[in-house]
């Protein structure tokens, strides 16, 4: 059970023997699940296989499952200047996530631990901004960014990704905070602890795993974002997805190299997502489902 139900180990809901009885061991269905997973995962595996071969071996007709192993594509991709793009992505995703945490944590605190008046309205306001389609904001943002001379500037993306992920983080962190036992905070307040002490000394250590998951999810969304990245950057601030698109249009026979680029740009987020998989659904549903 541990892997699937690790979301909330602090509150054991059902006695293990009841679970054991319900989720009986069914080897047949297990095999079906494995088959489904293999089929579903196959494109990723195929991407990996192609990335480790020569162009000639990658684009055979019909495709072959096995081919000689080479790391050429990866060294080629790095050699052709993938690094600045990856660095830009790291800056955009990293700093925006940092900013999200700095803004979302106090906000979530004001919306759960010490709820202000009309706190549900504020919470739903944050949520509603997440529903507004980015494409409708693109034109005014483009014009504003251009007027400010901030086109092709990585900090523009940092600010936009911050705004994009903030509602999600407020909701997620709020849902983690509301699970902290009240008695602890009350006791601290009785002892005269202020806002800062309560947050840093009491709440942070408790919700740290939740914060880590929130950061990973914000990082994933910022890293994968394409619409703003492709339209608001050019040469200086372009991120990994823009590199990927630009890379293939200038190439001829490119399947193996495309796969190698795809593997490189996806790898950080795939690893982050595997690490945060227990909390992934909470982030995607704004904390509505845990």
């Amino acid at each position: 059970m541990a892997t699937v139900t690790a979301t909330d180990t602090r509150v054991p809901r059902h006695t293990p023997n009841v679970q054991g009885r319900r989720r009986r061991f069914r080897p047949g269905l297990g095999l079906v699940a494995w088959a489904a997973a293999r089929f579903f995962f196959f494109p990723v595996l195929w991407m990996l296989l192609l990335s480790f071969r020569n162009e000639a071996d990658a684009a055979t007709s019909p495709p072959t499952f096995l081919a000689p192993f080479t790391l050429d594509q990866f060294s080629e991709v790095i050699g052709r200047g993938a690094m600045p793009y990856l660095t830009n992505s790291l800056i955009a995703a990293g700093f925006s996530t940092l900013g999200v945490l700095m803004l979302a944590l106090p906000a979530a605190y004001a919306l759960s631990i010490m709820p202000i008046a009309k706190w549900t309205d504020v919470l739903f306001f944050f949520l509603s901004t997440k529903f507004l389609p980015a494409i409708a904001a693109l034109l005014p943002l483009y014009l504003a960014v251009k007027a400010l001379g901030m086109l092709d500037n990585i900090w523009t993306l940092v600010i936009l990704y911050l705004a994009m992920n903030l509602p999600l983080a407020v909701w997620m962190i709020r849902s983690f905070l509301s699970e902290v036992p009240r008695e602890i905070i009350e006791a601290a307040q009785v002892d005269g602890a202020g806002f800062r002490i309560i947050i840093t000394k009491i709440l942070l250590p408790i919700i740290l795993p939740g914060l880590a998951a929130t950061s990973l999810i914000c990082f994933i969304f910022a890293w994968n974002e394409f619409l703003f990245a492709v339209n608001l950057t050019a040469t200086q601030a372009a991120t990994a997805p823009v590199f990927l698109v630009g890379f293939i249009t200038s190439e001829g026979l490119f399947l193996a190299r495309l796969s190698a680029v795809a593997v490189i740009v996806s790898l950080p987020v795939v690893l982050a997502g595997w690490a945060a998989q227990d909390k992934l659904v909470r982030g995607m549903t704004m904390g509505a489902v845990k």
């Binding site: 699940a33 906000a107 004001a110 389609p133 005014p140 997805p241 997502g273």
Partner: protein, 317 residues
């Protein structure tokens, strides 16, 4: 796994303690930076969009910017391309959301059982959601759909040569089945999302009810139809509305697989707005189309908010 539905009774949402009452502004202060930032970056642009949507403004003709009332809306609502785009958006979104919900539910039911390596299977199944969307779109286009060396034709050719007449399959998937070609990587990407939501629902199912039904002699199918499915309903609703809100915005897949073609066969609203903005430079029309998209989204989002707030209230009770 606890879910909000059967979570332990949440602590009351009153101020923690009545004793050290602070002034309202002092308590609001931690919220303000986030709130003000969000209003500036997300709300202001929409006000600007509304203003822009009333202007006749093509930057190729810079001198001619003037107020034009609602004529951009008249254009957007009657234009053939825009109508096609609305229809394509509806078709694509429905295809992706429904297919990924069906697949996701099936996977969730499989994962709800105990079996060897379940953690690994789950990890494999969520991976498509993590692969960069533009990377998976491009990979599908070139590595799977390509007529001569793509994997799909390769597998079909193998089948034909092994069991059939030995011919070669060389279907041009992107040209002939453009909408499906765009939808497939999206379904692949969104199935894990649906799976995780439904799985959370399954694992939040009350064990007592399930046991009672089993004692009463309910079979697997009956149990699924009468107990599991009604319980899953609000999770499925949540997945459908959230999925719709995210998928409606799809830009990457259209941009990289078909560029909206052939013709306007896969031009969705976000892509058409993008073209209006950066190819036709009709800023007024693009803004008007943006406002229309926002209005459509608000309608869908109302359902989403209702679903989320019902889950939310269950939690706060």
């Amino acid at each position: 796994m606890t879910t909000v539905l059967d979570a332990p009774p949440a602590p009351p949402e009153q101020p923690v303690s009545e004793r050290p009452r602070q002034s309202p502004w002092k308590r609001r202060f931690p919220l303000l930076p986030a709130l003000i930032f969000t209003i500036i970056v997300t709300q202001l642009p929409f006000v600007v969009t509304i203003v822009l949507s009333t202007l006749q403004w093509n930057i190729l003709r810079p001198g001619e910017r003037h107020f034009t009332g609602l004529s951009n809306y008249a254009y957007v609502l009657t234009d053939e391309r825009m109508r096609a785009a609305v229809w394509n958006t509806v078709v694509l979104t429905a295809m992706v959301v429904i297919a990924s919900m069906i697949l996701g539910t099936a996977f969730a039911l499989l994962l709800d059982r105990k079996f060897l390596g379940r953690g690994i299977v789950r990890t494999l199944l969520i991976t498509p959601f993590l692969v960069m969307p533009i990377a998976s779109a491009l990979f599908f286009k070139h590595a799977l759909y390509n007529p001569s060396y793509g994997l799909i034709n390769g597998v079909l050719t193998w089948f034909r040569q092994t069991f059939g007449d030995g011919g070669v399959v060389d279907i041009d998937w992107v040209s002939n089945y453009a909408m499906i070609a765009v939808a497939l990587p999206l379904i692949w990407q969104w199935t894990p999302f649906m799976m995780l939501i439904v799985l959370a629902g399954l694992q939040g199912q009350s064990q007592e009810v399930v046991e009672a039904a089993r004692v009463d002699g309910a079979g697997s199918f009956k149990m699924f139809a009468w107990i599991t499915l009604p319980h899953l309903r609000q999770y499925i609703e949540l997945g459908l509305v959230l999925g719709t809100i995210y998928v409606v915005q799809t830009f990457d897949a259209v941009y990289s697989i078909t560029q909206g073609g052939p013709g306007t066969a896969t031009t969705t609203l976000p892509y058409e707005i993008y073209l209006t903005m950066f190819r036709k430079y009709e800023y007024g029309q693009a803004a008007a189309a943006g406002v229309v998209v926002v209005i459509i989204t608000i309608v869908v989002a109302t359902f989403a908010l209702r679903t989320i707030s019902s889950l939310f209230r269950a939690e706060e009770k």
